[in-house]
Symmetry: C2
Amino acid sequence: MEFRLIERIRELTAQPRDDVRLGIGDDAAVLAVPSGQELAVAIDTLVDGVHFPRGTAPVDIGWKALAVNLSDLAAMGASPAWALLALTLPDADPVFVEGFAEGFARLAQPHRLALVGGDTTRGPLSISVAVHGFVPPGQALTRAGARVGDLVLVTGTLGDAAAGLHALQRPMREDDSRASLRDFLIARLNRPTPRLAAGTALRGQATACIDISDGLLADLGHICSASGVGAEIDAALLPRSSALLDLYDEASALHFALSGGDDYELCFTVPPQRLAEVQANLSRLGCGVTKIGRIVDGDSVRVRGTDNAWLATDHRGWEHFA
Amino acid sequence: MEFRLIERIRELTAQPRDDVRLGIGDDAAVLAVPSGQELAVAIDTLVDGVHFPRGTAPVDIGWKALAVNLSDLAAMGASPAWALLALTLPDADPVFVEGFAEGFARLAQPHRLALVGGDTTRGPLSISVAVHGFVPPGQALTRAGARVGDLVLVTGTLGDAAAGLHALQRPMREDDSRASLRDFLIARLNRPTPRLAAGTALRGQATACIDISDGLLADLGHICSASGVGAEIDAALLPRSSALLDLYDEASALHFALSGGDDYELCFTVPPQRLAEVQANLSRLGCGVTKIGRIVDGDSVRVRGTDNAWLATDHRGWEHFA
């Protein structure tokens, strides 16, 4: 089982990298970090029925297992290089393996990410991926650098993945004219786009950065804790997709945008004088970016409603799926 | 749950490493590979009831999860540096977490291994560990360099872990005077010793190397496949512990030594003229080392019995536990 899956992904992603001195097939891979680069490494696990709904297509699972990890590299401003894959499967189902490999490879390929090692074991379905990326010394984006007066920005739109999960769990009428909106939201849940180009563009620009996996309130809360600051967000400024706004009422859409997880957008802070440049840089990459608030003295995240009153929220927010 | 476990292991292993620029607590760790070193990386997963018997003590699970990965670094001749841990647990049981952290830390500490990242998730018990070690360029030990005429050696003794599993699965009489022998074998199963010092001592000496996780026949078979050679082993030369020989008859002891997995000893090849030096070097490290056969033309592993006839074996051997 081991070699079929790992070899299959290698076939689908075949792209020589000079820095891979010894790839899959020995006790360990041997890798050479380019001189003048530091290594960013992260590991994340997806468990069946916990991090993705049971019945999720194998191709989506393969994509998402890599995407959530690449998103961690994006949040550090690192460029992806190598991955290790540990896949636990109840049985060696060739349909699952082929679909998983295809989804994983489809995301790996354009980023020139090499799968350099793996382990396949029998057991309840779960996937751990460890990713490795490069970042110039001292330029990694951390959670700890936000300063009072910085602006808070996010890429893309918020709340789509949580709405997608909500939609997935409700039966749909066959004649539903809004099926394509629903599909868009579900695709945002199943096929998140790690914001890698945005992450590297933010090197030297953002003072703090995180990816939104647990929801905006929770993840911006992590920036605040690590930086020793507070934040104020304007609900009216939150970027939300037309699919979200068409399918859900304002209260639900706001709830998903504030507390929904799994969007894998970046939330970051910049000094006001860099706003225009950062917006121009990210827009040039085709990545939407929106100012949603600012960093203040304090230790919590507050949200100003459209009526200018503070909303009642907490850091944990909605108990999200992932 | 996440931070308690990861933080607890960090507390127990606390040892500053200059090469860890940013440790646990952000989206990724940031690491600096020392100049003039390449990186060896491996990942392995342990699943409850598959790679260790259900009911194994948490402290043993923590130790073994790291040990099987460090063993991969040993087989490459790499020195351990960093690890990532992905732990999936059915519930946040503090007794399990404390035991696991203690076992993991007890093995990490003497090797100055730093835990630099992790992920804890809820689900059926399984553990993936990714390890990173250093090796000078071009000096990694692979499976591919064995040449006809080379001698085949192993560290330590073989078959103990498989016998330990066998013993564990049989009830013991309370008055069994051989309980300490049984305990020795079970400890070899639960607390394998990765042969790290031996691995680095073999740099520039061994022509091929692998760790014995699947059993001698299977793993020496991997060296033969990768090197395009065959091997002949003498059953009479196989190093076996007195515990194994006292508790099991010759046929069982031979079976465990040839086909039992989970010993995590090294199997390697050296040219005959290096034998004396390698034996002296490893003995000086307190690591037993035994010549068990030689590399020949061919593509399979054959075992000569004590009567000089070839034993009937196959590469898969006994279906081992791991």
